[in-house]
Amino acid sequence: RWKGSECDTDSWVAYPVLSDEQSQDVELIEAFAAPIVDKKETSRLVRELNGLYPLNGLQHIKRVRAVKGSLHPLEVLVCLVSEAPDLKEASIDSLLPSGGVKHDGLGQPFVVTVPARPPLTRPQFELVRKHWPTSFHEDKQVTVALRGELFSPPQKARMHTYMTSALTAARTGSELGMEAVGAVMVDPVMERIIAVGHDCRGDHPLHHAVMVCIDLVARSQGGGCYPFDRYPGCSFQKLPDAEASPQPYICTGYDLYVTREPCVMCAMALVHSRIGRVFYGTASADGAFGSKYKIHSQKDLNHRFEVYKGVLGKQCEDLNCVDQHINNKTSQHSR
């Protein structure tokens, strides 16, 4: 049996939903480089060029690169094309006004492309280093996460269990005529499910699964404002008083598992609730954790957190078919 479930957790991979800065291609800009024809002049050239063209804000770019198999094995960045004097044809004379840098040892300049910003992830780094040597302060966790290898098999097995509960809740709700979406709030330290909820928008248009789950968490701490008890698929674990949070940031440190990417309302509700991390199965058209917005990495907001997608992605995706089926049935009825 263990083998079987191990197999199951191999069927999906959780990938991080990174910020735009981390996931976009790094912008490239043009610069003049020149071969160093006299190697002995290298350190003087670098020093003098740093003085004349300091390449402000581009500390990630190395000034000199080694070129294998070339007549001149070293090349140096002279300046950005944008800071060069306006000229028809660049020559070393025109780039280096007399008195500033002695030209000795420099060959004919040519145009190269260099990254405008430091690379933030390994894929960005791999891309930009092909253009010009660049330094990279690697966030190892992001690198491992992008390979889909952040979570160990035991961790994945737990994630699998939690998302399975969310899937079950989604199906229970769907049988009541709700949209097939389920959500589970977990205390990852205690490895304990705090609340399970499903979409209830048939009875209240704003009761999306995430909103339901947030209110159930409030219930678990003696608060809450809706009676969800009439839904057997919605439940919460009453916490001992000692664990009830004295402040309204009730989801601090909790993980949310939700079958599909939350909408803007639900995503922002999770920001207000200071959620720890979010895991979702499948993307949604107006989703706010990757599709339309990345509210978890929005610059101006005061709470940021990690979001992962793809947990039981296939099974979560299949829920949309359940919805489709029901929609077809109801539209036939209404006809």
Partner: protein, 188 residues
């Protein structure tokens, strides 16, 4: 009220054809500010919020985050719940009421509330000051007018009404709450 005609009009049209007059704005914002002042005097978050349908207040809200331990209980969400209850009580169709309902609030709705207002197809939001930290009508994100076909319909904003007064009340509140001036939560 809630005529068939209103029901099937496109949301853009209904927003176009449905805009409160200056006198209405004056009057209902005055009530919203009254609520905010009241809240401030009682040591509560000074945000006043009401929903008006057919010249009648059908929803009123104040922030209930602390007592419910639910961080989503912003004044707008509370007012929307009242509107839904009101529709239920009068056996009126929610969507036809919503598309002729205006929200008056002293502070720009946050991203969450703006999305909730879209989901219910509220066509007009009149607000006082901007919400620099969480605003969903342009200050942080522009949820009100964004292209989100699965998230109800875009709504019109009328902003800036007695904005300075709204800011002053918030400042007074946060000074009381937090005399040391640390970064403090913003409940709206």
């Amino acid at each position: 009220m809630g005529t068939e005609e209103g029901r099937y009009r496109l949301s853009a049209d209904s927003a176009e054809g449905f805009l409160p007059s200056d006198e209405e704005i004056e009057k209902w914002m005055d009530s919203a500010f009254g609520m905010a002042k009241d809240a401030l005097e009682n040591g509560e978050v000074p945000v006043g919020c009401l929903m008006v349908y057919n010249d009648e207040v059908v929803g009123k809200g104040r922030n209930e985050v602390n007592e419910t331990k639910n961080a989503t209980r912003h004044a707008e969400m509370v007012a929307l719940d009242q509107l839904l209850d009101w529709c239920g009580g009068c056996s009126l169709d929610v969507s036809s009421v919503c598309e002729r309902t205006a929200l008056y609030v002293t502070v720009e709705p946050c991203i969450m509330c703006a999305a909730a207002l879209r989901l219910l197809n509220i066509p007009v939001v009149v607000y006082g000051c901007r919400n620099e930290r969480f605003g969903g009508c342009g200050s942080v994100l522009d949820v009100s007018s964004a292209d989100l076909p699965q998230t109800g319909s875009a709504f019109k904003c009328v902003s800036g009404h007695r904005a300075d007064e709204a800011v002053e009340m918030l400042k007074t509140f946060y000074k009381q709450e937090n005399p040391n001036g640390d970064q403090k939560l913003f409940f709206c």
